[in-house]
């Protein structure tokens, strides 16, 4: 039995807003019976101010799928469509007091149904950009498709790199075999052979001079550049201000949909190289960030 929170159980046993909504003017449907999860979200939207007056759902799925659907309808009622679109799958999971990692896909389904319903209201076509594969890393809920795509996009070749870019494998290590299998498959596609890397050397934290520190940072940037340049992109160091390392994404990397993953990987390597928590910030985003903000 899953270790469900009391809130998950409460929303499963007593789902709110379940059943068809007769006068719905926005309907979002995601999933399918073959996938084992399906959700129809129905909204009654006030055309005057685009506020969600009522919401209901029909769900085929497990306990957490039903609870996530129930939670979603409670969260979005009374919100405007714009406000509702800000709701993330993590918000749904948080509302429920958390979900087991293996069940996070239920909250993702809720978020996607919401996007589909809003698109339906606006007469737009909503495209799913989330192709879910087998769950590889249960600690951080990362699936095979995500790992494969990240390996391809960033020319990764080791489990350590995959962990840096996706978090997969950073927990209990039980998925390392699965990650290595995906690496072997993707590397074979580009004519390379996967070789297991030796265990990383343990770094002993020590004080670096400012010059040594800058050089380390430059080394990490230089190490990342060839992979990015291969994809017609690049990264440049702009400035270092305490814990904040400012970089500029160039070429195809600027505005790329994998930009956040790339920056996350570079940041993880910075943390590893420097032995301290730092944040790698693209220069275009500096205005939004408070100074000296450490990574979560």
């Amino acid at each position: 039995m899953w270790d469900y929170s009391d809130t998950v159980k409460e929303h499963f046993y007593n789902p709110r807003n379940a059943g068809a909504l007769a006068d719905a003017n926005a309907i979002g449907e995601v999933g399918s019976i073959s996938c084992g999860d399906a959700l129809r979200l129905m909204l009654k939207v006030d055309p005057g101010n685009e506020t969600i007056l009522d919401a209901s759902f029909q769900t085929f799925g497990c306990g957490s799928a039903i609870a996530s659907s129930s939670a979603l309808t409670e969260i979005i009622k009374g919100k405007t469509l714009e406000q509702a679109l800000e709701v993330s799958n993590q918000d749904i999971a948080d509302f429920l007091g958390g979900l087991p990692p293996e069940k996070m896909h239920c909250s993702v389904m809720g978020r996607e149904a919401l996007q589909a319903a809003v698109a339906n209201y606006r007469g737009e076509e909503w495209k799913d950009d989330h192709e879910e594969g087998a769950l590889i890393c249960k600690c951080f809920a990362v699936d095979a498709v995500m790992i494969e795509e990240t390996i391809r996009a960033n020319n990764l070749c080791s489990v350590e790199q995959v962990t840096n870019y996706t978090k997969a494998g950073g927990g209990c290590s039980s998925c390392h075999e699965g990650i290595e299998e995906i690496l072997a498959k993707v590397l074979a596609e580009r004519g390379e052979t996967f070789k297991a890397a030796p265990p990383p050397e343990k770094k002993v934290p020590g004080k670096m001079t400012t010059l040594e520190r800058i050089r380390k940072i430059e080394q990490v940037i230089e190490k990342a550049r060839p992979n990015l340049q291969r994809d017609h992109g690049d990264i440049e160091l702009v400035d270092v201000d305490g814990k904040n390392i400012y970089v500029s994404m160039k070429g195809a990397c600027a505005g790329c949909q994998m930009e956040a993953a790339t920056l996350g990987g570079v940041q993880a390597q910075m943390v590893e190289a420097l032995g301290e928590l730092v944040k790698v910030i693209p220069v275009k985003a500096t205005a939004k960030l408070a100074p000296n903000t450490l990574p979560a």
């Binding site: 046993y13 084992g36 029909q58 769900t59 497990c62």
Partner: protein
Amino acid sequence: MSIPNLTPIYLDNNATTRCAPEAVTAMLPYFTEQFGNPSSMHSFGAKVGHATKGARASLQKLLGAEFDSEIIYTAGGTEADNTAILSALKANPERKEIITSTVEHHAVLHLCEQLEKEGYTIHKLKVDGKGRLDLDEYAKLLTDKVAVVSVMWANNETGTYFPVEKMAEMAKAAGILFHTDAVQAVGKIPLNLKDSAIDMLSLSGHKLHGPKGIGALYLRRGARFRPLLRGGGQERGRRAGTENVPGIIGLGVAAELALEHMEQENTYVRALRDKLQAGILAAVPNAFATGDVDNRLPNTLNIAFEYVEGEAILMLLNKQGIAASSGSACTSGSLEPSHVMRAMGIPYTAAHGTIRFSLSRENTEAEIDRVIAAVPPIIAQLRKLSPYWGENGPVTDPEKAFAPTYA
């Protein structure tokens, strides 16, 4: 989470059984007074060694084995399965093929998948809609390239039997070692290994009211064998490691009890199971029993409830104090339904909603009546929530009626 004042009903005996009180009582002294190591050359060890010999004889009797030395104790069914298959491969290094089936337990299937990566060829026999094998297909695969056939005696989800005795004879005629994972069958049906052609058989203590963490591999005298674990000379050098003495004693008692209750298993338990099946299917539309219902374990009933998902059913049953299990994907964290249901070609509309009720001699008719009363409203409640279920039953062509806005 169960409703207070409702006595729990346990119908998940294919997952594990309650350890028989007689077995527990018998085990206790082997944690305290009789703590000697059976390999030790003193009286502490000798007493324990004598007791484990008695337990071995009980297990020999249950299996209908010719010699007690044909039993190798293991840590459970998985270790026994792994030992059998890996031993056969090492003992016959020139043979690189294995025959198994698509519906085996993961202890066999996942090992075979790993062996496939290491260069072995795995032939997985397919099953039909009732979970039955095609023996003609099997016969064609029996060549001198095959090191071992490993096929379960009875399926853990549906209870369906495979004709393992016949298959073992066919394998023997082709000079191939034959192993059967009989974890679900041992203790429920009479066995007579002495007169069969089965070379190896796996069993697990906790499936027959014995303790967890103990199992055994039957190895026919004379069959080629290579140990999985090497170290001390325990189990005649075939399974190194100090014996799980309390477990062995408990398994011995469980074996005696299983033999004693064998007839009850096939009359009383079977009748309860049949009543449960008839009661549920009479009250719930769009539901059916899976597997070969005329040829299955006496305690097992697997019902597919269309248009609802298994884990949700389990949670609502659990709230009423009823414990069963599901082959549904969501209970395992993936979204794929049970490989057994998929192998039988059960459509997705039903495969996600399968529930396995597995009984034991400890269940009562009053319990079965309570389950028969509890299930229909639970299914109705979930179908009310389902986008695939309308006012008067399933929506026509559910895949079309529920059409996501994306490809």
